[in-house]
């Protein structure tokens, strides 16, 4: 069983990531739960999506709770810090090093913590830092950062490379497939 928590900022494309994971689980015969965030929270706020995949134990709950996550996939550094309590003791954190300033920071009421990475390393033994936004930009658009991060995540899940390619083909618009595969490879070959 795998519990994955995807966190980021509304508009970063976390929904595509959970959609691809849900698809992978389904075609590979897993029982699947994906819990999404809609509405208010999409407007630039913190977003959290839960993905649960199981081919052994029965699963019921659609959410992942504290200390239950095998992997946290964080699209933004501050959101990675916020999501640390989700991690199991031996859980892994994959973090995009992009910084998006929340409104209290933009207007000078708060400061963006300078020690995000230190906090993450202190709380988690398995950290992968990725400049996914930079890599995606190199592939054609910063928006493909979600797929770069999936490429990194692929190494921690029991699916074959071909499964991932198939999942991308079936979940992104045709004209973006090649670019997304390129973005995936950048994360996968890290």
């Amino acid at each position: 069983m795998f519990n994955i928590v995807i966190v980021g900022v509304g508009g970063q494309g976390t929904l595509l990531a959970s959609k691809i994971l849900g698809y992978l689980g389904t075609v590979n015969g897993y029982d699947v739960r994906v819990s999404e965030v809609h509405g208010m929270s999409q407007r630039g706020g913190s977003v959290v999506t839960y993905v649960r995949l199981s081919n052994d134990k029965p699963i019921y709950s659609t959410i992942v709770e504290q200390e239950q996550a095998d992997v946290v996939l964080a699209f933004e550094k501050l959101e990675a810090v916020r999501a640390l309590p989700y991690l199991k003791e031996d859980g892994a954190m994959i973090v995009n090093t992009q910084e998006i300033l929340p409104m209290p920071v933009v207007i000078g009421q708060a400061e963006y913590p300078a020690d995000c990475m230190a906090r993450i390393h202190a709380a988690c033994k398995q950290v992968v830092e990725v400049d996914a936004t930079g890599m995606a930009t190199a592939c054609g658009t910063f928006k493909a950062a979600n797929v770069v991060l999936l490429g990194v995540l692929a190494k921690k899940l029991p699916f074959q490379y071909a499964d991932w390619m198939n999942a991308i083909e079936n979940n992104v618009k045709e004209k973006f497939i090649d670019m997304n595969k390129k973005a995936f490879d950048m994360g996968y070959n890290l």
Partner: protein, 573 residues
């Protein structure tokens, strides 16, 4: 192969398979995707109605006329629809009639933690409560069967964690359900007192029969394990109970109302301790206690927020206590108006003028947050107008001349028109701003009666707000572009100072649907005087950096509002 479906998509699939003819709804999180998904089935007529009351009336008309019908809404939407819903319980239906109502424990995107089960009891309408997407689909089909068997509307109640979770679903073919005959039956379908006095006993009797059938209905299911602890639960809470208390026996209530008394009595007799674990109010618990069956639950789970697995484990199985989930020493990240949002210019000016702003439900509610701070109140759909009118009546002209009501195009169509009519009819003075972004924004971009497109995006009649205001007898109707902040300021000053009723239409399409050049802006550091004027609009893309500003190119959409505020021409494309 089973398909991974959102609970809401599964509800739509259930309607499709049940041979539904008509679906009329108003969007509202967490219910919106049901009707969006229904609109992809060409076999079903679907529409966005101006509000939930109209939507339910359309569904009732279809059902009485012989075609299976469904109407979907969020929990507070059912309050709007309550008038027809409570009475159609007496009328009964002809073809199947189902209301899908989505509650939001934890208030992920809602204004209260209202529990729809009370409406079911209040209106004497049976209520089903699914736990996952498969059940969403199956329960909708069951709802239609019960509706026709008992001549009653049926509520399918969802909660956010069911509506917005994807789980696996086995699909089936669409059932061929021919249109039923429509026979004129005034004694049943005209709600005069004389007719309804005769219908009321039927409602009581129907509920007794349903309560009896509830004892053997397969969706009310006992899963026996140990006899030490028995749990009565339903909906999303069932999922948490199964993981938190694997040793406990469970009575899962697929039908939340009416409740299966015999089944509960029997279950209670087989376990040493009985607890009730339910989201929101002690709906089951109070009923079970009223039957003299000892049980507990809410004393441990409380009334606030949503349940989750750890909470149940802690309260009922001495599970581990976890520390707080939220870290207080890092900045919060609240939702904000999007970069390029047309409401930003309007809210910037209203804040600058220090107006008392009676706001409303929609994206523009976010104009109340820092740094714009430009909203005083927000209550319910369309409530802005009545509140500003009432405030002016209580406090007089001195208050009224600095008070405005603000609501969006979809909210205006939903419940604003009658409020405006009151202002026109009884008001003497008052200012309304219709923030017309040509879409229902917050719920994810649904067409509405003001933007000239139907649910499929095809051309439809568009409400002309200017002419409507004129027809109400309002003499002053002004249209402004919210990004022309100087003009917005001039018009706001002029119209609020006027001792008459005026309407300002602030018109610019939602940034997320607008088609235009999105080249991001950057700051020319040579020209920038570091005055920070551009940060006053609360745009998430404009970041304070090295004493000046930096525009984040991954967020900026090049709307140009900041360029208008910069006196030094430092913000350039």
């Amino acid at each position: 192969m089973k398909q991974l479906m959102l609970g809401n998509e599964a509800v739509a699939r259930g309607a499709y398979e049940a041979g539904v003819a008509v679906v009329s709804s108003y969007p509202g999180t967490p219910s919106t995707e049901i009707t969006e998904c229904v609109s992809t089935y060409p076999e079903i007529y679907s529409e966005w109605a101006p509000n939930e009351k109209v939507a339910v009336e359309v569904a009732i008309g279809s059902a009485v006329g012989g075609g299976r019908a469904m109407s979907c809404m969020k929990h507070v939407g059912f309050n709007v629809a309550a008038d027809p819903a409570y009475t159609v319980s007496y009328l009964g239906t002809n073809a199947g009639l189902v209301f899908v109502v989505a509650d939001d424990p934890g208030m992920h995107s809602s204004q209260n933690e209202q529990d729809t089960r009370f409406h079911a009891r209040g209106a004497h309408i049976p209520c089903l409560d699914p736990s996952n997407s498969q059940e969403c689909k199956d329960f909708v089909k069951l709802a239609f069967a019960l509706s026709e068997k008992y001549d009653t509307p049926v509520i399918v109640r969802l909660t956010t964690r069911v509506a917005h979770a994807r789980t696996l679903v086995e699909t089936a073919e669409r059932e061929n359900v021919p249109l039923r005959d429509y026979v004129k039956t005034p004694q049943k379908y005209i709600c005069t007192p004389a007719n309804m006095i005769k219908r009321h006993p039927y409602v009581v009797e129907r509920e007794e029969k349903l309560a009896e059938e509830a004892n053997s209905l397969p969706v009310n299911r006992v899963e026996m394990a140990g006899t030490k602890l028995g749990v009565i639960t339903s909906g999303a809470a069932y999922n948490y109970v199964k993981e938190a208390l694997p040793e406990a026996s469970v009575l899962k209530l697929g039908m939340a109302y009416p409740m299966p008394k015999k089944l509960i009595e029997d279950f209670a007799s087989k376990v040493e301790e009985l607890v009730v674990i339910e989201d929101m109010e002690p709906f089951y618990e109070d009923a079970i206690k009223s039957w003299g069956i000892p049980c507990s639950g809410k004393d441990k789970t409380g009334l606030l927020g949503e349940l989750f697995m750890h909470k149940i484990e802690q309260k009922f199985a001495n599970g581990k206590e976890y520390g707080p989930m939220s870290t207080t020493d890092i900045p919060v990240r609240p939702p904000v108006l999007c970069p390029g949002c047309p409401h930003r210019g309007l809210y910037y000016v209203m804040g600058k003028l220090g107006l008392t702003v009676c706001g409303d439900i929609g994206c523009y509610t976010l104009g109340g947050a820092a740094p714009l701070y430009a909203t005083d109140t927000c209550l319910c759909m369309g409530g802005s107008i009545g509140m500003s009118h009432g405030m002016g009546k209580a406090r007089g002209w001195e208050q009224a001349k600095k008070t405005v009501a603000v609501l969006g195009d979809s909210t205006f169509c939903h419940s604003g028109m009658t409020g405006l009519l009151d202002m026109a009819y009884n008001g003497r003075f008052g200012t309304l701003i219709i923030a017309d972004n040509s879409i229902t924004g917050m719920t994810g971009h649904q067409n509405n009666p003001m933007n000239g497109k139907n649910i499929h995006g095809e051309p439809a009649s568009a409400l002309n707000a200017e002419k409507l205001c004129e027809a109400m007898g309002i003499k002053h109707v002004v249209v402004v572009d919210p990004f022309d902040t100087a003009e917005v300021e001039r018009v706001l000053k002029e119209e609020t100072a006027r001792e008459e009723v005026s309407v300002i239409i602030s018109r610019r399409p939602c940034e997320l649907i607008a088609k235009r050049d999105r080249t991001p802006i950057h700051c020319d550091t040579e020209k920038c005087k570091k005055c920070m004027m551009c940060t006053k609009i609360g745009c998430p893309a404009i970041v304070k950096k090295d004493g000046g500003v930096w525009v984040d190119p991954t967020l900026c959409v090049g709307c140009g509002l900041c360029q208008e505020l910069c006196k030094f021409g430092a913000l350039v494309k």
